[in-house]
């Protein structure tokens, strides 16, 4: 019994001391596009998720996005530079921005920059990067519209335009045909 109590006491000290000796914070960040198609002039949603897979809280976490140049992309909503005071170990945070491409063509979507302090008493920030979606194409609006738009009004207008070309000749023919078929039927009946 006495031996067991001593053993429990030793184990408690070991684990108690272990709490004070955590590893540093370690952030993994992803950058993803939510759009199936990136189209000129249409909103593009970019989501950033930062996971703290380390053992300590990460502090002064700054996410900086510089790959979407204002000449090529209009920022609709969100901020390209965001800060979190603290991300607890095992926790994650997300951030979303909405952009609108001004141009079309091929575009290389590189990673955003993440900097943080890996522990509460760290002085030098750790610099990291998010994942990069890579090179993709920004579709021209005209091509997207041609492929996907239902064009209901345009088809309705087309239908209206074809009605005179089809209905007028048909009605003229049908009227004459009906008239003479009626006469022919009547003559067959009298005969």
């Amino acid at each position: 019994m006495r031996l067991q109590l001593v053993l429990i006491g030793v184990l408690a000290v070991c684990f108690g001391n272990a709490d004070e000796d955590h590893g540093p914070a370690w952030l993994l960040a992803s950058k993803t596009l939510h759009n199936q198609f990136v189209v000129e002039g249409k909103e593009l949603v970019v989501e950033y998720i930062i996971f703290n897979v380390g053992e300590s809280a990460a502090t002064n976490v700054v996410l900086t996005e510089e790959s979407f140049h204002p000449e090529d992309f209009e920022l609709v909503r969100g901020m390209t530079k965001t800060k979190w005071d603290r991300i607890a170990p095992g926790a994650n945070v997300s951030h979303t921005i909405i952009l609108r491409p001004r141009v079309y063509g091929f575009f290389n979507m590189t990673a955003a920059d993440v900097s943080y302090l890996s522990s509460e008493d760290a002085s030098e920030p750790v610099h990291s990067y998010t994942s990069a979606p890579g090179e993709g194409g920004i579709m021209r609006y005209r091509d997207f519209d041609r492929k996907f738009s239902p064009h209901i009004l345009d088809w309705a207008a087309f239908g209206m335009m074809t009605v005179p070309s089809l209905c007028i000749p048909f009605m003229l023919w049908f009227r004459s045909k009906s008239k003479y078929e009626t006469i022919a039927q009547q003559s067959r009946k009298t005969n």
Partner: protein
């Protein structure tokens, strides 16, 4: 024989077996052909998103070619249909003409027959013309839609007016 004047019957027969159309019919054919050839341009502009300013020359050239070809189709279809319609309407037209001229005793039998023949030709001409226009318009528009939206779907829109007229 030279300089002999043709009878009405002979004139009608010549007209019957000729593919030539009157000036009025020709104007009607070309007018309708132009309208129906221009209609698909709306689709090229609004749905295929072709730029009208850049494509104006191609569109104009292809519309002219298409107008000629559609008018040619009208003429041929009318020629084929006219004989069939004339055979079908003969009885009814004769009855109509005899009914209207039956009491006219000043007119001889021969004149009445000529009048009936002329009327039959007129009715056949009218029905053949209207049906030829209707049939060819419907065929052209359906072909335009099928070619540009299904068969030629993967080609660039610039090719559509060119291939439509082939």
């Amino acid at each position: 024989m030279v300089g002999k004047k043709l009878t009405k019957q002979e004139e009608l027969l010549l007209q019957d077996f000729s593919r030539n159309v009157t000036t009025k019919s020709s104007a009607l054919f070309y007018g309708n052909a132009l309208i129906v050839s221009a209609i698909p341009l709306w689709l090229f502009w609004r749905i295929h998103q072709m730029d009208p300013y850049q494509s104006a020359l191609v569109w104009a050239a292809m519309t002219i070619v298409s107008t000629y070809l559609v008018a040619f189709a009208y003429r041929n279809t009318k020629f084929i249909l006219k004989h069939k319609v004339a055979q079908r309407r003969e009885e009814a037209v004769n009855r109509e003409v005899m009914k209207s001229l039956g009491d006219d005793k000043k007119m001889s039998r021969k004149e009445k027959d000529e009048r009936a023949l002329w009327k039959k030709n007129e009715v056949a001409d009218y029905e053949a013309t209207t049906f030829a226009i209707f049939y060819n318009n419907a065929f052209y528009l359906v072909l335009a839609i099928i070619l540009s939206f299904y068969i030629l779907k993967t080609t660039t829109p610039t090719m559509y007016p060119l291939r439509l007229n082939v």
